[in-house]
Amino acid sequence: MSSALDELYQEVILDHNRRPRNFRTIEEGRHAEGYNPLCGDRLTVYLRIQGDRIQDASFQGSGCAISKASASLMTDIVKGKTIAEAEALFERFHRLITRSVEDPVDDLGKLSVFAGVRQYPARVKCASLAWHTLRAATDARNEVVSTE
C-alpha cells in the first residue's frame, strides 16, 4: 500500500469498520438520519440526552469504512460530553480533515487517526457524515440531513 493509503486506512479505522462500537439503537431518545448522496452512505445517530449532557450515543446504518469508523469513534467520544463540547469537537475535527498539508496538526486524541482524510477530498464527507448527523440529532429535528 502507498503511504497515503496507509495513512487513510489506519489500523484503528479498519478495526472500527470491522467491529463498530455502539452499533445499536437507543429506544428512548432522539435520533437523526444522515445521508451522503454521493455514495449512498446512510447513518442514523441515536442520543440519550439529559439536560445538556449526552448520556449515551449509538448509530446504525451502512457506509464505507471511513464513515463507519468515524461514527463508531464519535459515539464513543461524545458520551459524557455536553452538547456544546461535542459541537466544539466537531469544529476541530472538521479542521483536522480539511486543513492543508502545511497546517499544524491539532491533537485530537483518538480522532487524530482521521488526519489522513485530508489527502482525499472526496472522502471528507464520509468522515464528517456522522458528525453532521450528531448535530442534527442534538437539535432534535429528527430529520434527514444530507452532506450535499
Partner: protein, 414 residues
C-alpha cells in the same frame, strides 16, 4: 489520424490507444487505467483537432449570417447532423435534434410529446433499471398530469421481465421509455421486441441509447423505435452535445420545447410561427463546436467499425468476467445473457467507496456508488456497487491490473 486496423476483423488496440492522448497520463504515479467509460469516454486526437479547427477557421453563428464564416459554421454543423442521421440510420436528417445530452433529450420528449399525450389517469411505462434521467422527467410529467408511472421488473440476473412488461401495457399507457443498455448492469435490452409489443397496442417507445452507441451499431429504423437519445461525451465526443432522434411525424405534431431565436419562422407580438424540423426544437445558439466535434467522433468509430469494436469488447468482457469471478468474496451484479462491457460488483465486507479509493491509488479509475440508479440499487438490495466499464481502447492487461488491485483491496480489508 484514424487508425487502420491490421486485419479486417481485429481491432488494433495498440494503435487505437495512440489516438487518445490522455491514455498516456499517469495517475498517482501509475499508468492511468481508465475503466469509467460508462460515465464518460476519452477523446481521440481527431476530435480534439476538429474542435481546434472549428474555432480557428470556421467559428461564427449558424443559420444567421450571409458572410463566409457563418456559411462555413452552418455547413460544418449541418454536416454533423447528417453524420448523426447516418450513424443512427434515421430516415431523414431533420429527425436529428441536437440537444445537450441524453438528459435534455428525454426532458424534451416528456415536456413536448408527453404533455400533449399524457393526461389524468394515463400511464407511462419505464423499467426498474433506468438511469435517473429516464425516471425523473417522467415522474415530473406524471405528477403534473395526475398520471401514473408503471415499472417493468427484472430477474435477479438483470434481464427485463418481458412477460410482466407485456402485462403492464394497457389502454391508458401513453408511452414506454426504456434503456437500450443498462449503465449499472450492462444488460442489453431486446429493444426490437419491446417496440413490437408496444406498437401492437399503438404505444410509442423512447429508447435511452446513452450506453449503447459507443459499443454497437444502432439502426433506429430496424428497431422501429419512435425516439432514440444519446450523449456525445459517451461516444468519444465533446460534453454538452447529444442527439434526440424522433420520427418526423411525431415531432411535427407536438409543440416546441423552448422558445427563442432559430426556432421561429416569423414573430410578431400577436403570433409566432414555428420553424420546421429540426430547428423547431433548437432554440437559441446551439453548441456548434460540440456538434462538429461529435461528427468527428462518430466518423472515428465508424472507421474502426462496430464489428471489430464489438468483438474486442466482447472478448474483454468475457476475460474480465472470468478474472473477477476468480476473486474470493466478489459478486457480479448484472449477469444477464445479453450484456455489454460493464462489470458491476460488490465485494464482501468492503464498501464500494473504499474499493474506489484504493483502486484510484493504483491508477485504476472506476465508478463507485449508485450510478444514478437508486431504484435499481434498492431492487438489488445494495446501497452501491463498484463498476468497471469498458471501451474500445481497454486491454486484457488493464483487466489484469484491475484484478491485482482488487486483491490488494482484500488484503487491506479482509
Amino acid at each position: 489520424m484514424t487508425s487502420i486496423p491490421l486485419t479486417r476483423t481485429e481491432l488494433d488496440v495498440r494503435s487505437v490507444r495512440e489516438d487518445f492522448p490522455i491514455l498516456r497520463a499517469l495517475a498517482h504515479g501509475k499508468p492511468l487505467i481508465y475503466l469509467d467509460n460508462a460515465a464518460t469516454t476519452q477523446k481521440p486526437q481527431v476530435v480534439l483537432d476538429r474542435l481546434v479547427r472549428y474555432y480557428t477557421h470556421e467559428n461564427a453563428n449558424v443559420h444567421r449570417g450571409v458572410h463566409l464564416l457563418s456559411e462555413r459554421a452552418t455547413d460544418a454543423y449541418e454536416e454533423a447532423r447528417k453524420t448523426a442521421a447516418r450513424f443512427l440510420h434515421a430516415a431523414e436528417t431533420q429527425e436529428i435534434i441536437f440537444v445537450r445530452g441524453t438528459t435534455e433529450a428525454i426532458n424534451l420528449v416528456a415536456q413536448t410529446y408527453g404533455r400533449v399525450h399524457v393526461g389524468a389517469g394515463d400511464e407511462v411505462v419505464i423499467t426498474v433499471m433506468e438511469h435517473h434521467s429516464n425516471i425523473v422527467p417522467w415522474q415530473m410529467l406524471c405528477d403534473e398530469r395526475g398520471a401514473r408511472l408503471r415499472i417493468v421488473p427484472m430477474t435477479d440476473e438483470g434481464a427485463l421481465r418481458i412477460d410482466s412488461y407485456e402485462a403492464l401495457l394497457g389502454d391508458r399507457t401513453r408511452i414506454v421509455a426504456v434503456t437500450h443498455v443498462s449503465n449499472a448492469l450492462g444488460t442489453v435490452n431486446p429493444i426490437r421486441r419491446i417496440v413490437e409489443i408496444a406498437h401492437a397496442r399503438g404505444i410509442p417507445v423512447l429508447v435511452d441509447g446513452a450506453q449503447a452507441v459507443a459499443h454497437t451499431a444502432v439502426d433506429v429504423q430496424a428497431l422501429d423505435c419512435d425516439f432514440y437519445t444519446f450523449s456525445g461525451h459517451k461516444v468519444f465526443g465533446p460534453t454538452g452535445i447529444g442527439v434526440l432522434y424522433g420520427k418526423a411525424a411525431l415531432l411535427d405534431a407536438v409543440p416546441p420545447y423552448q422558445g427563442g431565436g432559430d426556432m421561429i419562422r416569423s414573430v410578431s407580438f400577436e403570433r409566432t410561427l414555428y420553424n420546421v424540423l429540426p430547428y423547431k426544437f433548437e432554440a437559441g445558439t446551439p453548441n456548434i463546436a460540440g456538434g462538429v466535434g461529435l461528427g468527428a467522433a462518430i466518423e472515428y468509430v465508424e472507421a474502426l467499425g462496430f464489428d471489430r469494436i464489438g468483438a474486442h469488447e466482447r472478448d474483454l468482457l468475457a476475460y474480465g468476467t472470468r478474472a473477477l469471478e476468480g476473486i474470493p468474496g466478489l459478486r457480479l451484479t448484472g449477469t444477464a445473457g445479453d450484456k455489454g462491457g460493464i462489470l458491476s460488483f460488490v465485494l464482501d465486507g468492503v464498501h464500494p467507496h473504499d474499493v474506489g479509493t484504493i483502486l484510484d491509488r493504483e491508477g485504476v479509475a472506476i465508478r463507485t456508488g449508485h450510478h444514478c440508479c437508486q431504484p435499481l440499487m434498492a431492487r438489488l438490495g445494495v446501497p452501491a456497487t463498484s463498476r468497471a466499464s469498458l471501451a474500445l481502447y481497454n486491454t486484457r492487461a488493464e483487466i489484469d491490473v484491475l484484478a491485482g488491485a482488487l486483491a490488494k483491496v482484500r488484503e487491506v480489508f479482509v
